[in-house]
C-alpha cells in the first residue's frame, strides 16, 4: 500500500504541475481576452457616440514617444490629468529617451507588441517600410480628412511628403515649420566685443572662429571656434560645414544627394566635399575645433557651448532657453545674443520638410478604436486642449502679467512639459526661430533672420526616395567614408587618400546601383 501511495502521490504532483501550467497559461490568455473585450466595449460604445463624446467612457490608449531633457513628464502629474480630462482619454505613454529611440522602436516592432499610437521617427526606414508593405499599419488616407484640425494644423506638404511608396498616408505627420531649420548659431556677443561682422562665407566663418580662439574669448585658454559631434556613420553636427560647400541638404545628419540638372548626385564624390574636408582639417590643426570632437557625445558638445567655451554651435533659435538658463548661472548679463542664428553661409541654408516623423497606428488596433485615436489627436490639436501643454497650470508653470501669460521657465523645465510637444505639436511659421514666451526684441531679430533665410533655403530633395540596395549596403559605404573623413580631419590620413577613396566610390558597382535606383525613384515621384 505504501508503494501505491507513493506512486499516486507522484502522479498527483505531476498532475498538479500540469494543471498549474495550464491555469497559468489560461490566466495570461484570460487577461488578453478581458483586455480585448474591454477594448471592444470601448470601441463599440464609441461607434455611434462619435457625436456626443462627453458621455463616452474615456479612451484608453497606449503611446510610445521619445523625450528630450533629463526626465520624462510625470504620468500622474496634474498637467497630464488635465489633458486627459480635456481629451476624455487615459494616456499610457511610454517615454523613451531620444538617444536610443530608434533601437527601441526596432526592437518593439520585432517583438510584435506595438503600442496603439507609435512615433515613427523615420517614415522611410526599412523597418517601417516593410511594415507598411506587409500591412502592419493603418492606412489613414480615407479617414484623416474627416478631422478638421488634422488638416488645418498640419500642412499639406507634410501630408504629401510622408506618403509612402503607394501614395498613401500611414501616419499623422508631426508638423514642424519649414523655415528656421537647425543651422549655425554664433556667440554674437563675442563678435560685438571683437567688432566683427556676422560671417556669410566659409572664409569669413574661418576668420571669425580663429579670432575667437586667438583672443581666448572664454578666458580660460579653452576656447574653441565651434562645438559639435560626429556620428559613427555621418558628420552629425559638422555636416552644415560640408553643406555650405556643396549646397546640398539632407536629413538626420546624412547629407548625400545634390540635385544637379535634375539628377541626384552622390555628394561625397563632388570636389566641394573634398574642399570642405581640407577646410575642416585646417580648422582642426589650428585648434578651432575641440581636440577630442571625434569622441564627444551630442550632449557633451552642447555642454561645451553652455559652459561658454565655444563660439559656434549648430542649433535652432527656438532652443535658446536651455542655453540661456545654463549660461546665466555664471553670468547674469547674457541675453539672446549668445545663440544668434546665422542667415546663410556661401548662400546656403537648409529648409526643413515641414514634418518630423509621424504617428502611426498598428493594424492590431480595431478600426473603431483607430478612428477614436484620430479623433483624440484632433481634439488634442484644438486650442483648448493644446493650451494645457503649451502653458501648463496657472500659478505653477505660468503667471499672468498685464493680461499676458508668462512662462515660469524653471518649473516648466523641471516638469518637462515641453515633451508633450513630441506627441502633438502646433506651430506658427516662426516656431523654429522662437517661442511665444521669448522677449519681443529677440522675436524681431530672429524673425528677420528667418525671413532672410527663406529666400535661399535649400530643401532635401532626397526625402522619401527609396532604393532597395541602399537599405542594405549604403550604411556600410557611409561608415567607411565617415571613418576616412574623421581621419583626414584629425590629420591621420592625407587628402590624397580621399581622392583614392572617391575614385573607388565612383567605380563601385553597388553605389552606382544605389544612385540609379534613387534617381529612378526621384523621377517616378516627379512625374506624378
Amino acid at each position: 500500500m505504501f508503494k501505491v501511495n507513493r506512486n499516486s502521490w507522484w502522479k498527483t504532483s505531476f498532475l498538479v504541475l500540469i494543471a498549474l501550467s495550464v491555469v497559468l497559461a489560461g490566466c495570461s490568455s484570460n487577461n488578453q481576452n478581458s483586455q480585448n473585450t474591454k477594448g471592444n466595449n470601448n470601441t463599440s460604445s464609441s461607434g455611434n457616440a462619435g457625436s456626443v463624446p462627453a458621455k463616452e467612457e474615456p479612451l484608453k490608449v497606449s503611446i510610445m514617444s521619445h523625450f528630450f531633457q533629463d526626465t520624462p513628464p510625470d504620468k500622474g502629474g496634474e498637467v497630464q490629468q488635465r489633458m486627459q480630462e480635456a481629451l476624455n482619454a487615459e494616456l499610457d505613454i511610454q517615454w523613451v529617451s531620444v538617444n536610443n529611440y530608434e533601437d527601441r522602436f526596432n526592437v518593439t516592432v520585432a517583438s510584435g507588441d506595438l503600442p496603439e499610437l507609435v512615433l515613427v521617427r523615420d517614415p522611410f526606414s526599412s523597418v517601417f517600410r516593410t511594415g507598411v508593405e506587409q500591412g502592419a499599419f493603418w492606412d489613414i488616407t480615407p479617414y484623416y480628412k474627416d478631422y478638421g484640425n488634422l488638416t488645418q494644423s498640419i500642412s499639406e506638404t507634410a501630408w504629401n511628403l510622408t506618403k509612402m511608396k503607394d501614395g498613401k498616408n500611414y501616419g499623422v505627420p508631426r508638423p514642424r515649420p519649414t523655415e528656421g531649420e537647425t543651422f549655425f548659431a554664433i556667440r554674437k556677443d563675442w563678435l560685438d566685443q571683437l567688432n566683427l561682422e556676422l560671417p556669410t562665407t566659409t572664409d569669413e566663418l574661418y576668420a571669425v572662429m580663429k579670432a575667437f580662439v586667438e583672443n581666448d574669448m572664454a578666458g580660460n585658454g579653452q576656447t574653441v571656434g565651434f562645438s559639435g559631434y560626429v556620428n559613427p556613420d555621418n558628420m552629425g553636427n559638422f555636416s552644415p560645414f560640408i553643406s555650405s560647400f556643396t549646397g546640398a541638404n539632407g536629413s538626420s545628419g546624412n547629407v548625400e544627394w545634390k540635385l544637379v540638372d535634375d539628377q541626384l548626385v552622390y555628394v561625397d564624390t563632388l570636389p566641394e566635399t573634398r574642399q570642405a574636408l581640407e577646410y575642416l582639417a585646417r580648422a582642426y590643426k589650428d585648434k578651432l575645433l575641440p581636440a577630442d570632437f571625434a569622441s564627444l557625445r551630442s550632449s557633451q558638445s552642447v555642454d561645451l557651448y553652455k559652459a561658454g567655451n565655444a563660439g559656434m554651435i549648430v542649433e535652432k533659435g527656438a532652443s535658446i532657453s536651455e542655453y540661456l538658463s545654463a549660461m546665466s548661472a555664471s553670468n547674469s548679463d547674457v541675453d539672446y545674443q549668445v545663440l544668434y542664428p546665422l542667415t546663410s553661409i556661401n548662400g546656403y541654408n537648409p529648409r526643413a520638410g515641414g514634418f518630423n516623423g509621424m504617428l502611426a497606428i498598428p493594424k492590431s488596433v480595431p478600426e473603431e478604436k483607430m478612428k477614436r485615436i484620430l479623433s483624440m489627436l484632433n481634439t488634442w490639436m484644438s486650442d483648448e486642449a493644446y493650451e494645457i501643454q503649451q502653458w501648463g497650470i496657472e500659478g505653477v508653470h505660468h503667471k499672468v502679467e498685464n493680461g499676458k501669460k508668462v512662462i515660469i521657465e524653471e518649473k516648466f523645465a523641471v516638469d518637462s512639459i515641453a515633451n508633450y510637444n513630441q506627441i502633438v505639436f502646433k506651430h506658427g511659421p516662426y516656431a523654429s526661430s522662437y517661442g511665444d514666451h521669448h522677449p519681443d526684441e529677440m522675436k524681431e531679430a530672429f524673425g528677420k533672420i528667418q525671413e532672410e533665410r527663406t529666400k535661399s533655403s535649400v530643401p532635401d530633395y532626397s526625402v522619401g526616395l527609396y532604393s532597395e540596395t541602399a537599405q542594405t549596403y549604403l550604411p556600410e559605404i557611409r561608415k567607411k567614408t565617415q571613418d576616412l573623413k574623421i581621419k583626414i580631419i584629425l590629420g591621420n590620413k592625407s587628402i590624397g587618400d580621399w581622392d583614392a577613396h572617391v575614385e573607388t566610390l565612383k567605380n563601385d558597382t553597388t553605389l552606382n546601383k544605389i544612385i540609379e535606383e534613387i534617381n529612378a525613384s526621384y523621377n517616378a515621384r516627379a512625374s506624378e
Binding site: V109, A110, P232
Partner: protein, 318 residues
C-alpha cells in the same frame, strides 16, 4: 499495482545494467522530479528560443512571422563572408581576444600566487577586497572614468603631461593604442576578481606537500613551482578552454562605449556589428547569421581545446 510491487522487488535482485531506461527512470523518479524544474528551465528558456536561429536562413520579417518569411538559404552568410567588412571584423575581434588571452589571462594566476604567499591573513584580505572592487563597477562607469582621465581637453593625465612640458596625447582617438586600452581596462576591472577561483584551488592543496617540500630543502619559489602550480594546473586548463570558447566574444559594452569615429576601424567587432545591423537597422536575419557564425566558431574552438587537453592527459570540461 502488482507490477510496481514486483518492480520494487526486482530492484534488489537484478543488476543495474539490465534495467530498461524507462524502469530506471521510474526507480529514480524523485531525482527526475527534482531535476524537472531545471530541465524545464533549459528547455523553455534555452532550447526553444534556439529555434529562432532559422531566421538566419530566411528573409525574416516580423510582421509576417517566422513561419511565413521567405527562405533564402545561405544568402546572408554569403553576404557576410564576401563583404569587405568580414576580415576587418575578424581581425579586430581576434586581436582584442588574443591580447586578452596573453596579457589578461595569466595575471590572476600570478596575483593569486603572490597572495598565497602572504603571511598576514589580515593584509591578504584587505588586498583581496580592494582588487575585487572594480569588478562591481559597470562598464559605463569605467569608460566614463577613462574619459575623465584621458580625454585631450579635460583629462587629468593629459593635463599632467602638458604640465611636464610634453604634447598632449590623444589616448581616446588614437587607433594604434585602442586594443591596448581595452586590455588595460579589462585587467583593471577583472584581474582581481579572477583570483578567486585560483585562490580557492590553492587553498585545497594539502599542507603536507609543502611540509614535505620544505623537508627536502625547497625554498619558497621552488615549492611554488613544484607544489602550488601543478596543483592548480587542471583549474588553469579548464578556465583556458572556457576562455577559448569566448574568443569571439569581446564584450559588447566595453568596445561599444569606447568606440568613436576616429578609431572605428579597429573598434568594430562582431558584437557591435550585430547591434548596428540588427537593432539599429532592423536587418534581423543578417545579424542573426553573423551571430550564428560567431557562436559556431566558439563551439569549434571549445571542442578542439577540450580534445587537445584530453590528449595531453588533462581533464577536460566535458
Amino acid at each position: 499495482m502488482n507490477s510496481t510491487v514486483t518492480a520494487a522487488n526486482e530492484k534488489t535482485v537484478i543488476p543495474r545494467q539490465k534495467y530498461h531506461l524507462g524502469k530506471r527512470m521510474f526507480r529514480d523518479r524523485y531525482l527526475y522530479l527534482l531535476a524537472l524544474p531545471g530541465l524545464l528551465f533549459f528547455l523553455i528558456l534555452k532550447f526553444v528560443p534556439m529555434g529562432g536561429i532559422v531566421i538566419a536562413f530566411q528573409n525574416y520579417s516580423h510582421y509576417i512571422g517566422i513561419l511565413k518569411s521567405p527562405w533564402v538559404g545561405f544568402d546572408h552568410f554569403i553576404r557576410l563572408f564576401t563583404g569587405d567588412q568580414f576580415w576587418l571584423l575578424l581581425r579586430n575581434t581576434m586581436a582584442i581576444s588574443l591580447l586578452n588571452l596573453f596579457f589578461f589571462f595569466p595575471l590572476p594566476i600570478i596575483i593569486s600566487l603572490l597572495l598565497n604567499e602572504l603571511r598576514s591573513n589580515r593584509y591578504k584580505r584587505v588586498i583581496q577586497t580592494i582588487i575585487y572592487l572594480p569588478h562591481f563597477l559597470s562598464w559605463v562607469i569605467i569608460v566614463s572614468l577613462t574619459f575623465l582621465m584621458l580625454s585631450v581637453s579635460q583629462g587629468v593625465i593629459n593635463q599632467v603631461i602638458e604640465m611636464a612640458g610634453y604634447d598632449k596625447y590623444p589616448f581616446l582617438t588614437e587607433p594604434k593604442i585602442f586594443w591596448l586600452m581595452l586590455t588595460l581596462q579589462s585587467i583593471w576591472k577583472d584581474a582581481g576578481w579572477g583570483t578567486i577561483i585560483f585562490l580557492a584551488a590553492m587553498a585545497s592543496v594539502d599542507p603536507q606537500l609543502y611540509e614535505a617540500a620544505k623537508m627536502d630543502g625547497a625554498g619558497r619559489l621552488r615549492s611554488m613551482w613544484h607544489v602550488t602550480l601543478p596543483a592548480i594546473r587542471n583549474v588553469v586548463v579548464i578556465l583556458f578552454i572556457l576562455q577559448l570558447g569566448n574568443i569571439m566574444d569581446v564584450g559588447f559594452e566595453q568596445v561599444f562605449l569606447m568606440g568613436n569615429g576616429a578609431v572605428s576601424n579597429v573598434a568594430e567587432v562582431f558584437e557591435t556589428y550585430v547591434y548596428r545591423m540588427g537593432i539599429q537597422q532592423g536587418q534581423f536575419s543578417f545579424s542573426t547569421a553573423v551571430g550564428l557564425f560567431k557562436s559556431a566558431i566558439g563551439l569549434i574552438l571549445v571542442v578542439m581545446a577540450n580534445y587537445m587537453s584530453k590528449k595531453m592527459g588533462e581533464e577536460g570540461v566535458f
